[in-house]
Symmetry: C2
Subunit: 364 residues, 2 copies
């Protein structure tokens, strides 16, 4: 198969799914895939055996969830437009508003629909200010109980989303305690509570039993159905970006240029100034692996290899499922990676390729 | 027209074109549009009256330039792949290699084609390390005269690209002097020299006459045809991103949420942590204008308005042509802005809209 391509490995996806299913079973919580992180619908049938549906951040994600993922469809957006609300309602089981203002605006048209409100507890675990929903002046959700009380009767649930790649159960537990302390009287009026995504519970060594117990206790004490919205946790370590070395040079360091680009294909590496994960990453040869876009800083990272890289070598960037395919773009006209699936019997099949016509059609 | 949409205003594009045409005439330099910056081909016919063709950073850009923009097609890429070089050659007038290694690799197949080499003079004007081609360990071009000399006979031209939004003629002049000093003996063996893009010569107050004189002198003394590759300079101030306020709230600041997103539609604001340009930006009301994606830092900037913003208000983000449409993506499934053109008689026409089917087809 011609590189570059994203390769989704079902054998590596299944363990995440099994942990999610176990957690659902033990805790009673429902699990919805966060499409903002991963929306490659070719594997939705596979995932839907383990998950209850999808949650979204726009009308188009609502429609994709409804159309492609069996189960429940939660519709959340930071702001709905007047011209899209009818379609949002027609394609969702629940609609979650970001503010009391949006709830009021669409109160009439959403009558009879299951409605929720996003609540911002003012604390989070994000290590990045950019991604921190609790940052100062955050527009993400209603912050004050006194602003929520007047509209609480209009909704049957709340959505909290303040975890962010949080692998620390104690921190999750403490934040949930703060949420109960501050918003408990409102939570107990509700029928369902979404605790959002960002809990890294499929990671190695995560105390899944303790999380299950905590969620079950939260649900029992508050008499609510709990929802989780895993994004990264659902697809972590399942996918690679397969690339080929096109050129090598030495300019103070060994440099290898591959047929991909962080800006076009793994955008978060650029936004958060992080390094890709290479495996294996071992050996005497140290190389900087660079993209082929014009951007000077188009650098995947510096890695170790057993031998010097040369044109034609294949490299696999690890953990390339989350926030990659959903953000890929045509920067520099670099060919978009195809999307391929490795079945559990080891066979690989191409599910989408992108060509010149797609590039030209993305403009006008 | 339903927002969001990019609006390309031909009446604002023409003054840039006229400056380019004047500079061509006076200096003898040829001007090629850098597609990496702007590739909205609906206005290529209009632009081609003033420019000589296009330059590129990938096979797909080469093909777009050849297909849509009358004139010369320069083919440059940081690295060509074996499987694309034939198509690159078939669709270009010149091929420019990034390294001596790539030139050697494709020496046979490119025999008979006009060939060039990118040379990195080791100095630049970039204010961002990310975008600085002269940064340490840069992979962009050959740096040392002694590495260029052995392959100089294989090429008839060089491409230098070390300016970056450079509005300072003195700095350009000084850098060109350094280039001549260091690489002059090689330059004088060539037939053509591209000085790349990044010279902000269409900006207000730029000493265009001095630039023309300097380019003419460079061409004359070295006996070469000079090329410029304007990107931003060609389309600066020509385009707006038209958005609508969907919701407002107060959380320590006045916040307005619009039907767009910096990450999805004006990506450089996020990458370089810059603010959008709003016009007018005046009045007693101060508001933070935010996008509708889930990203906490999806903020266009803080601007002044004559009155408080409210849902339904229309805002125009200025200077939205360069590095925007070419990088737009489906993050969060936020609707991609349509692309519209305002003709010089004031009529606006939609040239491309994007819908749910485009979103779903971008994945698989």
């Amino acid at each position: 198969m011609q590189t570059p391509y994203y390769l989704i490995d079902k054998a590596r996806l299944r363990p995440n799914m099994e942990k999610i299913a176990w957690l659902r079973e033990e805790s009673g919580a429902k699990a919805l895939l966060a499409l903002k992180c991963f929306a490659t619908w070719s594997v939705f049938d596979f995932m839907s055996d383990y998950m209850d549906g999808t949650t979204s951040s726009s009308l188009f994600e609502v429609k994709l969830g409804r159309e492609k993922f069996p189960g429940e469809t939660h519709a959340y957006s930071v702001a709905w437009a007047d011209h899209e609300i009818d379609e949002v309602l027609a394609n969702s089981d629940k609609v979650i508003f970001n503010t009391a203002g949006q709830l009021r605006r669409f109160e009439g048209v959403s009558q009879g629909h299951v409605r929720g409100l996003r609540v911002n507890p003012g604390v989070s675990t994000s290590g990045f200010d950019l991604a921190d929903p609790a940052r100062p002046f955050s527009r993400l959700g209603e912050h004050a109980p006194e602003d929520i009380e007047p509209v609480a009767d209009l909704v049957t649930g709340f959505m909290f989303h303040n975890n962010c790649e949080n692998a620390d159960f104690e921190r999750f537990d403490a934040m949930l305690g703060m949420i109960e302390q501050r918003f408990g009287h409102l939570i107990r009026k509700m029928e369902w509570i979404s605790l959002g995504g960002g809990i890294h519970f499929t990671g190695e060594g995560y105390p899944l039993e303790r999380l299950a117990e905590r969620l079950k206790r939260f649900a029992g004490q508050n008499e609510v159905q709990v929802y989780l919205e895993p994004g990264e946790a659902a697809i972590t370590r399942s996918t690679t970006l397969e690339v080929t070395v096109l050129d090598t040079l030495f300019n103070g360091k060994n440099l290898a240029i591959v047929d991909s680009s962080i800006e076009a294909h793994m955008l978060d590496l650029l936004i958060y100034r992080e390094s890709a994960k290479m495996a294996p990453n071992d050996g005497p040869e140290e190389w900087m692996v660079c993209g082929k876009s014009c951007l000077a800083g188009d650098i995947f990272g510096e890695f170790r290899f057993p031998e010097a890289l040369k044109p034609g070598d294949r490299l696999s960037m690890q953990d390339a499922a989350g926030y990659t395919m959903v953000k890929k773009n045509w920067f520099n006209g670099v060919k978009m990676p195809a999307i391929a699936i490795r079945e559990e019997d080891g066979t690989e099949r191409l599910v989408r390729d992108f060509g010149y016509e797609d590039f030209a059609a993305a403009l006008s």
